[in-house]
Symmetry: C2
Subunit: 139 residues, 2 copies
């Protein structure tokens, strides 16, 4: 069982506290009455997806003793035009940096995360098509 | 199109930056090699769900001129035992505080968010059963 508490602060600002003990502030867009002091709730889905699969990929590439020096994920999410504006398509692009990183190892690490380990991807994919690509940049 | 960038920092720590310009730090559990300096990626789904529906409910109750002084959401998520350990059931409990808040208005606001407006709930519900309850506390 995972738990969180989310508490109203002011305007459309809320603070969420998770079971790990860490908190995140959220705020709404000025268009809907927020003050843009913090991230939007729906943006947390994209950021959480990136963190989840990023941790998997870094862990797997370390186990494979790959000389990774950087990992950056670019995530693009398309939403439906009509309410409730759910995410319909999400694309994750992984950029792995290092000197002599094996491209095949990166491919496998990304596939293992996306197809087997990443709980956020698995939770989103009921309604959202999640695609991915990767590139390796020689440092 | 919504965008985010998630960048590896060190250990299992990542920083995610969303299109709004705001950033969130994430870290892994020490059990899997993280240092517990920040929230877990999968916790962001529960926190994001709470923020999304919380903003809806506050906005709707304001439009209905309800004298709300507080709103707190308690969110419980069950995950599958096996990888990828997706969320299977999530329960959201809303506690609305105020003096003379109409319980019927609260019920309708919560239902409107959950059934029509909340994009995070709509994105999660493909794989996850999302339930809710509410109570009104006289201040």
């Amino acid at each position: 069982m995972s738990r969180a508490k989310v508490k109203f602060v002011d305007g459309l600002r809320f603070v969420g506290e998770a079971a790990s003990g860490h908190s995140v502030v959220m705020d709404g867009d000025p268009e809907v009455g927020g003050n843009d002091t913090a991230i939007r709730p729906s943006e947390l889905l994209l950021v959480g997806l990136g963190g989840c699969t990023g941790m998997d990929v870094i862990s797997i590439l370390r186990k494979k003793r790959q000389p990774v020096t950087g990992l950056e994920l670019s995530i693009k999410g398309e939403k439906a035009d009509t309410h409730p504006k759910r995410y319909t398509d999400v694309e994750v692009e992984f950029t792995v940096t290092g000197k002599g990183v094996d491209e095949e190892a990166v491919k496998k690490a990304v596939e293992l995360s996306m197809q087997r380990y990443c709980s956020v991807k698995a939770t989103l994919e009921g309604t959202t098509k999640v695609g991915w690509s990767y590139k390796v940049v020689e440092e």
